[in-house]
């Protein structure tokens, strides 16, 4: 019998503190392939830090991160190589303002994956069309709406064909009427079988789309389970209190 496939993303005993403040106090979380996991929790609970540890934008103090069984942490890891397998989408989009939408998507294809210009161009156009922006390839970020910018940012990450996508509050900086188009793209990405770890306050979306919801507080995972269970029958008092606060 073949060995079972390793988890798409495996976080083990993750610890992180800033100065004297412990932000992550032993996180264990593992995502199977194609799973979409939503992370909820009050601000300061360590959600974003956990996400940023996964591609080492923050350096974990201890613990392990593995992508499909390959370590991301550790001294001998080729970090720039591993990061291509982990796409990240930021709250503030962080598009490169001096490059067009196409230029934003093409940059890492050219410079990191060393595609030749025509192939990079083709892959970038494909990625932009997959987020519904084939008409906007030559626009600069400041000529795009927030929702369009975030979709370009998703395309930029997807173009590298990552194995896991991290979303750090992808809709928090958007006007309410622009949230829907970004969530629609995320739903689409999920339907393509992408493994996704999402930090977000979009409860309704989490309930509909997530395979699993994780509730964090004080640098620990307090409770996790299917969305129905977490939202309708939370067991832990802290989860109950949080959900009561945000739904009121």
């Amino acid at each position: 019998m073949p060995a079972p496939a390793p988890p798409a993303l495996d976080i083990r005993r993750l610890h992180k503190s800033f100065d004297t403040e412990t932000v992550l106090n032993g996180i264990d979380l593992s995502l199977t392939i194609s799973e979409m996991v939503f992370v909820l929790g009050p601000s300061g609970s360590g959600k974003s830090t956990m996400l940023r540890c996964c591609n080492r934008l923050e350096e974990p103090d201890s613990g392990e991160i593995l992508i499909e069984g390959d370590p991301v942490t550790g001294p001998s890891v080729d970090l720039n190589r591993m990061r291509q397998r982990i796409g990240m989408v930021f709250q503030a989009f962080n598009l490169y303002p001096h490059l067009t939408a196409l230029g934003n998507v093409k940059l890492a294809l050219r410079r990191v994956q060393k595609k030749d210009p025509s192939e990079a161009e083709e892959l970038a156009r494909e990625a932009l069309s997959s987020v519904g922006l084939s008409e906007k390839t030559s626009q600069y970020p400041n000529q795009l709406s927030g929702g369009q910018q975030q979709r370009v940012a998703i395309a930029r990450a997807l173009a590298l064909r990552p194995r896991v996508m991290l979303f750090d509050e992808p809709t928090s900086a958007l006007d309410p009427e622009l949230v829907g188009e970004v969530l629609a793209v995320m739903r689409d990405v999920k339907s393509q079988g992408m493994t996704m770890l999402v930090v977000s306050h979009e409860m309704k979306f989490a309930r509909e789309a997530a395979d699993r919801v994780v509730f964090m507080d004080g640098g620990r995972i307090v409770e996790e389970g299917p969305p129905e269970q977490i939202f309708s029958h939370p067991k832990q008092p802290r989860t109950q209190a949080f959900l009561a606060r945000v739904s009121s």
Binding site: N55, L57, N80, R81, R83, Q84, I86, G87, M88, F90, A92, N94, L95, Y96, P97, H98, L107, A108, R111, V112, Q113, Y140, P141, N142, Q143, A153, R156, A157, L160
Partner: protein, 224 residues
Amino acid sequence: MDVFLDTFLNAEVLAQYAPSILQGALVTVLLSLLIVVFGVAFGAALACLRSYRLPGVGAVIVIFADVFRALPPLVLILLIFFGLPNIGVVLSAPVVLFLVLSLVLGAFAEEIVWAGITATPKGQWEAARSTGLSFTQALIWVVLPQAMRMVIPPLTNRAIAITKMTALGMVIGVPDILGQASTAQSFSANASPLTLAAIAYVVLFLPFVIASRWLEARFARPVR
């Protein structure tokens, strides 16, 4: 009035020395171009080097930038031109002028470009690094293009200010505009060559001053 015209705009003197001042203008233009190219490139390179935050390197760069921004360029010019031969290094006057002004412009450019690099939002670095770009690639392809755009106006102003100082070359005998004019003035005992020099400087530098005004207006808008 006649005395004034005869002193500052003597037609005969003007005609006689116009060719040599034109030659001087060529020297000034060449030197200025070289100084701007090397000064800005050197300063930008130092700012990039500083961004790696290697132990000790930043301190050395800051000391260089502060010393060369503090010293009057004329002092450096005299020190090098008259000092170095004593230890066996003889440099021609134009080379000394080029070296000193390039270093001085480099010192200012380093500080200006560094300000641009540090003003580029952290999220730009993070986005670039998250797609697998190395630090150097993120610097070259993402941060530096934005930083340079931000600092074009102050950089242009500083470049004009420094290239104008090519006139200091006169004191060590560089045959630039002022050097030629000053020689002509002593031969002719008349100030008209200096008037011509002033006109030459305005003709050469005014377009750049106007261009810097235009650049400033253009780049005052948000970076795109």
